[in-house]
Each structure stands twice: as C-alpha cells, then as structure tokens.
C-alpha cells in the first residue's frame, strides 16, 4: 500500500505546481502601475534593463555616465536585442525589468496592451526636455495623446550611388535621387549589365519591401492615417509607388534575379557592391556610410538625400526608444537613467569619444543621429569636421538634410500586424504571386481589420 502515499504526494506536488503555473497574470503586483508611480522618489538599490547593449562607445560612454548619475544603484543589463515574448512574459508574471529598450514602432503595441507605463509624470518629475526631441520620433512614442517612450537613436535613408558607373553612363547622382522616377528608370537601364541571363551589375535597387513607406510618401501618400486608426494601403499613390518600385526590378529581369545577385555580395565587407562596381544606386540607411568609410574608403561612391518629386529631401524615420514596464520595481531609477542616457550632454560626451576614436583610426567622423534635435545640432556644429574629404562631406550633408526632413508612422496598437500586412503584400508582388492592386487591396483589408480590432479593445478598456 506504499504506492498510495507516493501517488498522493506526486498528485499534491503536481496540483501545487499547476496552481503556480496557472497564475498567468498577477493582479497583486507590488511594482509600478500607471496610477501610482512617484518618478521623483529616491532610486532604490538596484535596477534591471532589458534589450540594451554597450557594444560601442556611443552606448558605453552614456551608460557609464547614467550609472554614475544613479549613485549606489546596481544596474543590471540583459544585453542583446529585445525578445518581445520574454519581455511580455516577464510583465505578465509580475517580474518585469525596470527598463526596456525597444524599437519605436513597438511602443504603440506595448502601450495598448498595458505593458509599459505612460511617461508624462516621468518627464515632468525629471524635467526631461521633450521640446529637444525630434517631432517624428516623439510622434512614434506617443500613443493616444500620451508619451510612452523616450526616443534614442534615429535612422533615415539617403541615396548612395557608384560615381564611376554613373560617369560612364553620362549620369550623376541627381538622376537617381528619387526626384524623377522616369530618370531612375532610364538610369536603371543604362547602369545595369547582364551576362547572358545573369545580372552582373544591378542598375538601381529600390529596396523593397522595406522602403515602400518612403516611395509612397515621395508620391504624396502615407500608409496609415495621422491618428493611426485607418490603413491607407489602397491609396492610388501607394499603388503607383509600388508599381514603380517593382517595375525597376522588372527592368532587370525581375526581383528574383536582383535579390539572387544582391545576396551573393559581401554587404558589410571590403568587397561590398560599391567597391566591386556591381551596383549603380540605391536608397539606404545612413549607418551604411560608416560601413563604406571603414571597409572601402576609396570606393567610388556618391551621396545625396533621397528626394521627392518636388526635389525636397525626404526620409522615413525609424529608431529606438526607452520604455518603463508596468510593474517595474524601481521606475524612479529607470526614469532618472533614461534622462541621463538621452540628454544632450550625454550624446555630446559619447560623440566626442567616437570622434576621437575615428581620428585615431584615420577615419572620418560622420556624425551620430539621435532622437534629440539639440544633440544632433551640437554634434554636427562642434564635432563633425566641416572640411571632411569628398565624398564623405556629401554623405554628411545628405544625412543631416534627410534627418531634418524625416517623417514617421504614428504609434498604433496593431503595428506588427499592420507592418506584416503591407510587407506580405509587397512580397507577394515581388514573388510574382499577385498583381500590385490585388495585393494592396488584400493588405488593406487585413491591416484595417487588425487596426479596428486593436483600437476597439483599447477604446473599450479606456472607457
């Protein structure tokens, strides 16, 4: 009969374990909730940060400075890119980090699901100067009228081209900067080379699917309404932009041919597409300037801003932001840490370190783009060399021009579903599975359905 006590013990253990597991969400949390946080209180003993790493001097200098600001607070970093599932599970189980570092386009979803706190009180308590932040960056972290994140880095696109190939074809960078679509089509034909049925030079890479928002904006359309509630993927200007950008690939044997050839390139190395003269031009994010400057400083490159049909610079801003999770044990330390990481002096200190390192390596300091407009201006005027050699001087000019003309998509509670809808649509067209109009109509339906559902849930919760 000794088996019965054994079975009873096992059953009891199981029941206890299941009861513990079943506690999916905690109601009685001791940590911060939206209505009960004193962001001005003294920071506690320790603080944990998820999703941030100190991989370069820009991060390390500001981190050291922020840790020093907190005094005796023991700051623990969980380095590496943010794992959304791990983060949300931590929040759900009542054991979140005190601070999270995320992409700005994730903030809307986190806010709508109650995973992060509104930071209006944090901004006020720590006297964070929100006027210093870029409007488009602040727009991306503002959900339903409240600020949920503090912007960090900024990313924009500029035009990058191979100056030798352009010269050989009798063209210059203004023919491929986006302002004249017919000129891009002509340049694509002039610049591309094929060896039999295989591409040997890509004339122009329109960088789909990721830059559809840029092409659409250049045609005068936004993918989503300003309030983040209405998808506009079936706007005729979006369709026109998609047809044009896909048409550029079609002129070169189709997207499959271009991607196949593009994938064989050493994108981050000395044998990159510009250094090996196998790419005419493309829009690309500004961080690639440093890759080219470090890996192939003598490559024949030319730079300009990406421009709309009116000739004005245009860029689609993306980037990162800080958020404080619901249930954080030490939100006051997190708030002080965020202020110390994002204030102008922190960026200046980090940029000085970067500029000195670049000088030691004989490289050009091309600047740093942040969500802080004041910091950007000071870094450019005080640290970026006014007499940088060409073509890097043009790169710097283009980058800052693009940064001043950037736009962003507004925060919304279904940003992942929305992005999936339009990227899947573009991919279906690129893969030859659907025509652009059909793909965008399907995407519009999917995106609007996701937005409606998410906003309805949010509106119900907010009463």
């Amino acid at each position: 009969m000794r088996a019965r006590p054994l079975a009873a013990t096992a059953t009891a253990t199981l029941v206890l374990a299941l009861a513990a597991c079943a506690q999916g969400t905690q109601d009685d949390q001791d940590g911060a909730t939206a209505s009960a946080v004193d962001f001005g209180a003294d920071p506690g003993d320790s603080m944990s940060v998820m999703g941030f790493g100190t991989g370069d001097e820009i991060a390390q200098v500001r981190y050291d400075r922020a840790v020093e600001t907190l005094g005796d607070v023991d700051v623990k970093l969980a380095e590496g890119e943010l794992d959304i599932q791990a983060f949300l599970s931590a929040v759900a189980s009542g054991n979140p980090p005190d601070l999270v570092y995320a992409n700005r386009d994730q903030i809307g979803t986190f806010a709508s699901r109650g995973a992060i706190l509104p930071l209006d009180d944090c901004v006020e308590a720590q006297s964070i100067d929100t006027d210093a932040f870029r409007d488009e960056a602040l727009q991306q972290v503002t959900f339903d009228g409240r600020v949920y994140g503090v912007p960090e880095f900024n990313q924009v696109q500029i035009t990058m081209a191979n100056s030798d190939l352009l010269s050989e074809a009798g063209l210059d960078v203004s023919d491929v900067n986006g302002s004249d679509r017919a000129a891009i089509e002509t340049a694509t034909s002039e610049l591309m080379r094929a060896d039999g049925n295989k591409l040997s030079v890509i004339g122009y890479d329109s960088k789909l699917p990721e830059f559809l928002p840029l092409w659409a904006k250049a045609g005068g359309a936004d993918l989503i309404s300003e309030d983040g509630r209405t998808a506009q993927l079936d706007d005729p200007a979006v369709l026109e932009a998609l047809e044009f950008a896909v048409g550029v690939y079609d002129k070169q044997g189709g997207f499959a041919a271009v991607k196949t050839f593009r994938d064989s390139a050493d994108f981050f190395g000395a044998g990159n597409q510009f250094a090996t003269n196998v790419l005419g031009a493309m829009p690309m994010e500004q961080w690639y300037i440093n890759v080219l400057n470090e890996e192939s400083p003598d490559a024949p490159v030319a730079f300009d801003a990406f421009r709309g049909s009116d000739g004005e610079a245009l860029a689609y801003a993306t980037g990162s932001a800080w958020g404080i999770p619901e249930g954080a044990e030490n939100p006051q330390a997190a708030c002080a840490f965020v202020k110390a990481m994002t204030e102008t002096d922190a960026w200046m200190a980090a940029a000085e370190e970067r500029a000195a390192a670049r000088e030691r390596d004989g490289l050009v300091f091309t600047g740093v783009l942040t969500g802080n407009e004041d910091a950007d201006e000071r870094i450019r005027s005080e640290l970026v060399p006014a007499d940088a050699p060409q073509p890097w001087a043009d790169a710097i000019t283009a980058m800052y021009e693009a940064n001043d003309a950037a736009f962003a998509t507004p925060a919304n509670p279904a940003d992942t579903e929305f992005e999936t809808a339009w990227t899947d649509a573009v991919n279906r067209v690129l893969n030859g599975q659907q025509e652009p109009a059909e793909a965008l109509a399907q995407a519009q339906e999917e995106a609007q359905s996701a937005l409606d559902e998410a906003w309805e849930r949010w509106d119900e919760e907010e009463g």
Partner: protein, 322 residues
C-alpha cells in the same frame, strides 16, 4: 497436466476474470522503488509537458495576448482557422514539403547506409563523418541554404553548370523554394544513416548466403532480403522524419523570415509552424496559435496512424516471429 508455479516475484494467478493479479511483497517493493526512481521524470513530464498540452487546449478556446487574462471565446479560433487562407497555404506548403522531403531523405539515408555497410574497417570513420553535419545548428543550416543554393553564385548551380544545366533561382523562385529546403535537409541525414546502418548490421549473413546459393543477384538480395529485414528501421526513420517535416521551422525561418530577411519573405516558405509562431509570438494571438497547434497535432496523429496501419502489412519485426 501440471501447472507451473509462478516464479519468485511474479504475480500469483488470479482466480476471477478481470481482477488484477495481486503482487507479491517483493514485487510491490520493486515497483515502488522503480516509481521512486522515475518520479523526477514523471513530475517533470506532468509539469513541463502534460500540463502545457492541456493548458494549450484551454487556451485554444480563448482570446489571449500573454498580458491580459484569457477570455473564453468558445470555438471562435477554430472557426477562424477554417476561414483563414494562410492556414490553407501553410498546410499546403507543409504537405508538399513533407511529400518531397521524406522519401528523398529516406532513400538517401538508405543508400548511404548501404554504402557504409560495404566500407569494411573504414566504416567507423565514415559513420562519424556522416554524423558530424548533424551537429550544425539548424539556424546555420538556414544560412547555408542561402549560400549553397544562391541562384547565381551558389555551389549547387555552379555544379549544375558544369554538366550544362542552368540551375533555377532556388532561394527566390516560389516553385523552387520547397525543393531547395528539402535538399538542404539532407545536410543532417547522418543521424538516419546511423540508424539504418545499425539495422543493416543485424541482418543475418546466412540469409545472404542462402540467397546467393539460390542464384540471387545484388538487386534481388536487396529487394527480398535487405529491405524486408530492415523494414522496421526504415519505418522508424520514415515516421520520425514525417513528424519532423510537419514541424519544419528552424531552417526555413532563418533563411526566409529571420534576421537575414527581416522584411523580405516568401509565401512558398510559409510552413505551418512558422505561421503558428508568427501568430503566437509576433502578433501575440496566443489563443489562435494554440488552436493552430492542436490542428497540427491532429494532422500528425492521423498521418502517423495511417503509417502504423500500413506498416502492419509492410514492416517485418523479427522478434514478433519468435
């Protein structure tokens, strides 16, 4: 006629039909000791496997986004599955891949095992050599797929070009994506080679000797001696790889949906588990993802059941004949 007494420790004969035989004290002690020894595993299984399975069945009837409490929605998720065209696409992709991958994989594994069986003393070296690629992380195999099968500069198409074949765009043409993934799965064929090789080593040599005496050639010996005698091993490899094919994720995700292709993807590589992952872990539709998981479970159960039924006619187990 005499009735043999039960051996020590065995159950005493029961007098009534349907009654469990009583265990002797020593048998009970042995059973309890056994239960105690395996209790850590049983508890671990109940908590970390059985409970999540049951809980996912409950979640499949709810709307759950990880953060909020699950709210009961009945069969709504299952109804949505029926109407969701991506479920049909993902199931179709997975089915086509399974049909392509499993026979190819088993045939190649069998061929290599038979070659290995002829290798004599060097078999140990080749056995290790075949198994080493299995150690490669699946994510790395996904990256390898993009490099080896690049339509322009990939090694596969270069080799095809040597014999005058203009290879396809394996990694971008929707028609060739699944064959490409099926072929790269052969990278880890070594594990099945080892299993089939072990089965081949167990085939009694006297059967081959008898067949030779009867005048059977290589093909006849393979068909009538080798294959029936290792059919148990082939069946095992087939079932295990069928289940793995239905659960294809790592290689396809890292090649077409992961960091290497953060925005570009290809519907032709949207396998069922990838769609489940996207719904559950990217879009936080955990209730729907749980329902998707249960559908996959049912599909795999049905396919495995069919395989088991078919195996009764085709698979020979030597131990059952004794």
């Amino acid at each position: 006629m005499t009735t043999a007494a039960p051996a020590r420790g065995q159950a005493a004969p029961s007098s009534g039909r349907g009654r469990r035989p009583r265990l002797t004290p020593s048998a009970r002690r042995e059973r309890n000791a056994g239960l105690r020894f395996i209790s850590p595993w049983i508890i671990g299984f109940l908590i970390f496997t059985a409970w999540p399975i049951l809980y996912s069945a409950y979640l499949s009837l709810t709307d759950y986004d990880v953060l909020s409490d699950p709210s009961f929605v009945g069969l709504e998720n299952y109804q949505r599955m029926v109407e969701d065209p991506k479920v049909r696409l993902a199931l179709w992709n997975t089915l086509v891949y399974t049909v392509l991958q499993v026979p190819t994989y088993v045939i190649v594994a069998l061929a290599l095992a038979m070659l290995l069986n002829q290798a004599g003393r060097s078999a140990g070296f080749f056995r290790t050599a075949f198994f080493i690629p299995k150690m490669t992380p699946p994510v790395a195999v996904g990256v390898l797929l993009l490099l080896l099968f690049n339509g322009q500069y990939g090694l596969i198409n270069r080799m095809l070009a040597v014999v005058g074949i203009d290879g396809p765009a394996w990694t971008t043409d929707p028609m060739w994506i699944k064959p490409g993934i099926a072929l790269i799965s052969l990278w880890s064929v070594g594990a099945s080679v080892i299993i089939l090789f072990a089965a081949l080593r167990d085939v009694p040599t006297e059967l081959y000797d008898a067949a030779r005496v009867d005048g059977a050639g290589w093909w006849r010996r393979t068909r009538t001696v080798t294959l029936p005698m290792i059919s148990g091993g082939i069946f095992f490899v087939t079932v295990v790889n069928t289940i793995a094919a239905f659960q294809m994720f790592d290689e396809a995700y890292s090649a077409y949906f992961g960091a290497g292709n953060s925005t570009y993807s290809n519907d032709a590589a949207l396998f069922y588990v990838i769609y489940l992952f996207r719904e559950g872990f990217q879009e936080l539709h955990m209730g729907y993802a749980s329902a998707l998981a249960w559908l996959l479970f049912v599909v795999i159960m049905l396919v495995t059941a069919v395989q088991l039924v078919v195996s009764r006619r085709l698979v020979y187990y030597e131990s059952e004949q004794r």
